[in-house]
């Protein structure tokens, strides 16, 4: 030990004692990552949020996802649904075709659709009509035993039902209460929200999609990306609130407006308006800051002979990036656009709107007689950054994703073999990884576990509530 305790010497630390020893013990990085993250063996490692108990009175994707993040990290989450109905998202399946059964004993012909997937994994499912006076006592009993709650009703609804933060903090001062919804308090307090509304009202849809002169319209993302994004933002808020509670011993309320969250994705648009009064326009698959740095269309599909239209006709797009002067020079050399290089040697010149139109048109002209994979190969062989725009099937078949465990089959204990990405797509953690235990459970599947085993109500009372449709 060093004389001065503030001094840290390498020989006092665990691990290699000299630089040479360190070099000797070093594993190649690839090998180290494979051994450390070890996809597929997540369940052998501890769960970082074990011990956190959360109530989820949420619906659809946005607020459920804020809680599913906790559940994947080991929190004990109880999803409270309306008796015999469940979360409306259960009834939302692509084209009303892809369901898993059963939903509930009273509805043998109804299932839960795959649209529900990834928003509520690892949770326990109970039913409760919590706005009934008869169920208030059970609701409050849960509040006393839980760390927090996430809800998504119109602002003030839970207050009207005597279960807002104003009421619940008196029952449990450590309680963390999350409201997530559309607009939040303010002039538009009564507006509800959906992902598309968030994208539209936040100004995000106005800068998404191709420009007018390319025949484009403002566009929403096909999937509900602002729902997933906003939900994750709430999860961050919850973790911060838990950390704050460790210091102060007090809970808090999080009020999370989805339209407000989506404005964060606007990037420089708002500050630019503040500085110059310029309203940002759409620029589609190109980039306003970099050129060449966009997605181009090739003439031939990679899969011209298959029947699936997405494969047959859409496997023609390539993402290409060559905005540095040297890279752009190489791009022009291999594509035969030497004149363009002469004209746009400097990035400042080629990032200009009209130059981009000329450059991308020339690139697509060059790619006109080539397939997607040919274009990618030519560009990659020249040392440029290029990747095909892949579809779902190609993501599923991607060896990279398989080896990292990004997408995998889960043997769900109730529903069987289901392909899922879920928490496994949200980054890898060496010591405390996310995991998926089950995709979801039927409506009210854990009524006895929660009401009887956790809250202590006799099973006869639970059955009575069930018969009265209170749960």
């Amino acid at each position: 030990m060093a004389k001065d305790m503030r001094e840290t010497r390498i020989e006092d630390l665990p691990g290699p004692k000299s630089k040479e020893e360190l070099e000797e013990m070093k594993m190649p990085y690839e090998e180290y990552c494979r051994a450390t993250f070890d996809p597929g063996n997540e369940h052998e490692k501890p769960e970082p949020l074990r011990g956190v108990r959360w109530m989820s009175t949420t619906m659809y994707i946005f607020t459920p996802h804020s809680v599913s993040n906790l559940a994947e990290l080991g929190a004990e989450v109880v999803k409270v649904e309306m008796p015999r109905m469940g979360d409306p998202m259960r009834h939302t399946s692509p084209f009303n075709e892809a369901y898993l059964y059963p939903l509930h004993d009273t509805r043998p012909m109804t299932g839960t659709g795959l649209g529900f997937l990834n928003a509520n994994p690892n949770e326990y499912y109970i039913t409760m009509d919590y706005h009934l006076d008869e169920m208030k006592e059970a609701f409050y009993r849960m509040v006393k035993m839980f760390d927090g709650l996430t809800e998504c009703y119109r602002p003030g609804t839970f207050d009207k039902w005597k279960q807002s933060y104003l009421y619940l903090q008196e029952l449990n001062p450590r309680f963390i209460y999350v409201w997530g919804g559309g607009f939040g308090y303010g002039p538009k307090v009564f507006g509800g929200s959906y992902d598309i509304l968030g994208q539209a009202h936040a100004g995000l849809a106005s800068v998404t999609g191709m420009h007018d002169f390319m025949g484009g319209h403002c566009a929403k993302h096909s999937n509900w990306c602002i729902d997933w994004y906003s939900g994750t933002q709430i999860s961050f808020g919850i973790l911060a609130a838990i950390h704050w509670r460790e210091t102060t011993g007090l809970g808090t309320m999080i009020e999370f407006s989805q339209v407000q969250a989506a404005t964060r994705c606007l990037g420089y648009a708002a500050p630019m308006y503040g500085r110059f009064g310029i309203v940002r326009q759409r620029w589609g698959n190109w980039d306003t800051q970099l050129c060449a740095h966009g997605i181009i269309l090739c003439g031939k599909s990679d899969f011209p002979d298959v029947s699936n239209p997405q494969d047959k006709h859409d496997a023609r797009y390539v993402m290409v990036s060559a905005f540095q002067d040297e890279d752009f020079k190489e791009l022009c050399a291999i594509t035969g656009m030497k004149d363009l290089y002469g004209k746009y040697k400097v990035h400042k010149d080629r990032v200009d709107g009209e130059s981009q139109v000329e450059i991308y048109a020339a690139l697509e002209k060059w790619a006109e007689d080539k397939s997607r994979s040919e274009v990618v190969k030519v560009l990659q062989d020249a040392g440029l950054l290029a990747e095909p725009v892949m579809n779902d099937r190609e993501v599923y078949e991607s060896e990279h994703f398989r080896q990292r465990g990004t997408i995998r089959y889960l043997d769900d204990p109730i529903f069987g073999d289901v392909l899922t990405q879920s928490g496994y797509s949200s980054g890898l953690m060496a010591k405390t990884p996310r995991r998926q235990n089950w995709i979801w459970r039927p409506v009210g599947a854990d009524n006895v576990k929660i009401y009887h085993e956790l809250l202590g109500y006799p099973t006869s009372t639970v059955q009575e509530w069930y018969d009265k449709s209170w749960i």
Binding site: E97, Y99, L100, T127, H313, L419, W438
Partner: protein, 160 residues
């Protein structure tokens, strides 16, 4: 409407100039022949995700269907309402049969392992609708279990 066919067929020295409207309920992903509501000229079209991938090309064949609605904007918007026999198709407010949303019952996933994608399923047998944590497929649905064993024997069950 996902697209139109603006018929320019010359009849008696005059262009037809009828706009035939193609509604997404029918034509969103569609390949076939459509007639012009006015002059009955038949056009071949191939539409993918609402985008006119090929056509309209004039063909000398019988039409598969008609547009939903048509008008003549250059002549003061005279029009053909939906459901005029031989000219337009009736508006049924329903997508084509392949988009009717009939639940697709499956017993096996894409890689051939059992998945609970068919109904009805046996009830929970627990108090107040409670479910356990295990799907005992062999006990609950022996016929699916049997089919699964046959799939394994035939090598139809894969890792991916």
């Amino acid at each position: 409407m996902c697209d139109i066919i603006w018929c320019k067929k010359e009849i008696d020295g005059k262009k037809c100039n009828t706009v035939n409207y193609l509604d997404p309920y029918c034509f969103w992903n569609w390949e076939g022949k459509v007639n012009c509501a006015e002059c009955k000229t038949v056009y071949y079209i191939h539409m993918i995700q609402g985008f006119m991938y090929r056509g309209p090309e004039e063909v000398d064949e019988k039409p598969d269907t008609s547009p939903l609605y048509a008008d003549k904007p250059l002549e003061g918007y005279t029009n053909y309402l939906p459901g005029i026999e031989g000219r337009t198709r009736p508006y049924e407010c329903l997508p084509r049969d392949i988009y009717l949303g009939v639940a697709d019952m499956v017993k096996f996933s894409a890689r051939g392992r059992p998945v609970r994608g068919w109904r009805p399923q046996p009830p929970s047998a627990g108090i107040a609708g409670s479910f356990g944590f295990e799907w005992d497929i062999q006990k609950l649905t022996p016929e699916v279990w049997e089919e699964y064993q046959q799939k394994i024997a035939k090598g139809e069950v894969g890792e991916w």
